[in-house]
C-alpha cells in the first residue's frame, strides 16, 4: 500500500526506469507503443513522481515563493488564488513568505528563504516589488522572479504592471465631466513609485483639462485608516472646502468618510470621495465608494504563468504580455457638482 515509485512502473511495464523517466518528462524519443503502455501502467498504479527526489536530482523544487509585506489582506488572498490556479495545472506549489520590507536584513532573509527551501522562483508583491535592491540581489544570485507593480521598472519578462497612471487619468476625466473644479488629493507615501504614478497620472490629466490642484490641496498619507482621518481633517478645515477628495487607497477614503460624517458634511451632496483598490470596504461602507479596481487575480495568474515559463526556459514567450489596466468603479460617493 506504499506509494509506487518509478521502479514499480518500470518493472510492471518491462522497461528500464530511464524510459519511464522519459515518458514522465515528455521526451520525444520514445516509441508511441511503449509510451502508451507505460502511461497506462502509470495510471493504473496512480504513480506520480516524488517531488523531493526529483528536485534533488534535477535541482528544482517545484515550489514557487510569494514574497510580500503586509499589503491589504484581501489583495493577498486574490493573488494567492490567481497564482494557485496556474500552479495547480503545472504541478507547482505555492510557499508564502511575508517579510518586513523596512528591516535591514529583509533581502538577506528572502535569499535565505529561497535557498533554504530551494524555491524555484519568486513572485513579489508591492510594495516589496518596488525594491531595486532586492531585484538586484536576486539577479546576482540568478534567482528567477516576477514582480507585480504599478510602474514599469524591470524587463518585461520579469514584471506584471498595472497601469495606475492610465486609470487615474480616466478618473480625472470622470470627475471633470461631473463638473468639479476644486479637487484635493490624499496621496500615498511619496517613497513608493505607485503613489507618485497615481498622483502624477491624476494631476497631469486634470491640468490638461484646465483644472489645477494647488499644493495645499495635496497631503501625503500613510495608506492607513488613521492617516486618512488625519489628512481628511487637514483638508476639510480649509476654506473654501474642496469639492472632491481622491485618496490613494480605500482605507484612507474610509477615513475621509468618517471625518465628513463627524463634521456633518454630506457625501456625496457636498463632497465627493474616491478611493483606490476596491477592497471589501468599498462596497460595504455607507455611502458605497467610487474607486479603482485592479484586476489582481488575473495579474497574479499572469505572474505565475510568466515565472513558470521562465523556469521552463520559454522566456521569450511571455515577454510582451505584461501590462494590465485597472478600471473605474462608480458607486455612491461621487456626484455632479
Amino acid at each position: 500500500m506504499k506509494k509506487p515509485t518509478i521502479n514499480d512502473v518500470a518493472f510492471q511495464s518491462g522497461v528500464s526506469k530511464r524510459t519511464v523517466s522519459r515518458v514522465i518528462n515528455g521526451a520525444s524519443n520514445v516509441s508511441k507503443a511503449t509510451r502508451e503502455r507505460i502511461q497506462q501502467v502509470i495510471d493504473e498504479l496512480g504513480f506520480s513522481p516524488d517531488k523531493q527526489a526529483r528536485g534533488l536530482a534535477a535541482s528544482r523544487s517545484y515550489l514557487i515563493g510569494l514574497v510580500y509585506d503586509n499589503p491589504d489582506a484581501l489583495y493577498i488572498d486574490q493573488v494567492q488564488r490567481g497564482v494557485l490556479e496556474i500552479c495547480a495545472k503545472q504541478h507547482y506549489e505555492l510557499v508564502v513568505h511575508p517579510c518586513s520590507y523596512t528591516s535591514d536584513d529583509f533581502i538577506e532573509k528572502c535569499i535565505q528563504f529561497v535557498s533554504r527551501s530551494n524555491i524555484d522562483g519568486l513572485i513579489i508583491l508591492p510594495p516589496v516589488s518596488e525594491s531595486k535592491e532586492l531585484a538586484a540581489a536576486l539577479r546576482e544570485k540568478e534567482i528567477k522572479y516576477v514582480r507585480m507593480a504599478s510602474v514599469d521598472l524591470d524587463d518585461h519578462a520579469n514584471i506584471v504592471v498595472s497601469d495606475d497612471r492610465a486609470a487615474l487619468s480616466d478618473l480625472a476625466k470622470y470627475l471633470v465631466s461631473l463638473g468639479h473644479k476644486d479637487i484635493a488629493v490624499i496621496s500615498g507615501p511619496k517613497r513608493y513609485y505607485s503613489s507618485i504614478e497615481r498622483l502624477e497620472g491624476f494631476c497631469t490629466t486634470l491640468s490638461q483639462l484646465n483644472v489645477d490642484v494647488p499644493p495645499h490641496r495635496i497631503v501625503e498619507g500613510a495608506n492607513s485608516y488613521e492617516s486618512g482621518i488625519e489628512c481628511a481633517r487637514e483638508l476639510l478645515i480649509q476654506t473654501p472646502r474642496p469639492q472632491v477628495i481622491f485618496a490613494n487607497n480605500d482605507e484612507m477614503a474610509a477615513g475621509v468618510l468618517k471625518v465628513a460624517h463627524e463634521m456633518g458634511i454630506p457625501v456625496p451632496q457636498e463632497l465627493s470621495v474616491v478611493g483606490f483598490d476596491d477592497n471589501l470596504l468599498a462596497s460595504r461602507i455607507i455611502p458605497s465608494l467610487t474607486t479603482v479596481r485592479r484586476p489582481v487575480t488575473s495579474m497574479a495568474s499572469l505572474a505565475a504563468h510568466k515565472i513558470i515559463s521562465m523556469l521552463k526556459g520559454k522566456k521569450a514567450e511571455v515577454e510582451e504580455n505584461y501590462l494590465v489596466k485597472p478600471h473605474l468603479i462608480i458607486r455612491e460617493s461621487t456626484k455632479k457638482s
Copy 2:
C-alpha cells in the same frame, strides 16, 4: 561559491559526515569537543542542510499545508501570519491549498496535495475543518493534522477550538444588561456546527435571563453581505421591530446596517446591531460595529505549534492546550434600550 554540503563540513572538521549529521540533528552521543568543533565549521561555512535531500532520506518535507475554502480573506491572512511565526523558528515552510469544500472530490484532492508534495502535516481552517469525512480520510492515511474550529469535535491533540458558545453567552448577558428584551438573530447556515454553537450559546443564556427569542425572530443567513440584507429586511418589516439584531458575522451585520439606513432606522438609537469576527469592516463602518473577536493569530500559532510537536513525536505535550475564548468588542452600534 556553491552551497556547502554536509561533505564540506565533514572534510573541514576532519570527521565523517555521519557525525556531522548527528550534530545537525542534535543527537546526544557526540563528545562535546567534536560537537563544538563541527558547529564552528558549520557557522563559518554558513552551512544549512538541504531540505530536499533531507526529506528524501528521512521522508519528511518540512512543509506544512494550509487547507481552507474561502473564509473571509482577512481571516486567512491572520492565520498565515500566526502559523508562519512558529514555522520560521522551526524551519518549516507553509504551503497554501485553497479547495472547494462542496465539490465531491475535495477530500481526494487534499490527499493528493499532501502526497504530491510530501506535506508533513495539515492545518485545516473552518468551514473545511468541520468535515468529519476529511478528518477520517486523513487518519486512515496517517496524515497528521490540526483543525481550527468552533466546536470540540476531535481529540484535543488534533484541534484548536474557539469557545464561541461561551463568547455568545457573554454577549447575551451584555445585551440584557443594556435592558433589551426583544432580540433577533440572523444565524449562519445551520449545516455548520459553528452556526449552531453560536445560536445555542446565545439563546440558551438569553432564556436563562428570561429573555425569549421566538422562532420568527430567527432567520438563517448565508454569511454573505447580500444574505445579511435579505434577512435584515425580513426582520425589520416585522411589527413590532426587534430592538437588537445579532448577525452571525460582520459581513451580514454590515448588511443589517445598510437596510437600517435605507429604512431610516437610526442605529443604535432605535436598533442595536452586533456582528461576529471583528473584521476590517467592523471598525471602519459607520456606526462602528459591536462584535466578537476570536484571537485568530494566536489560535493559528497554537495550531502550528501543535502540528510541529506532533511531527516531532511530542504528542502529549500539547494535548491539554486547545481552547481559546473570543471576547466582546463594544463599539457604537449597541446602546441601552
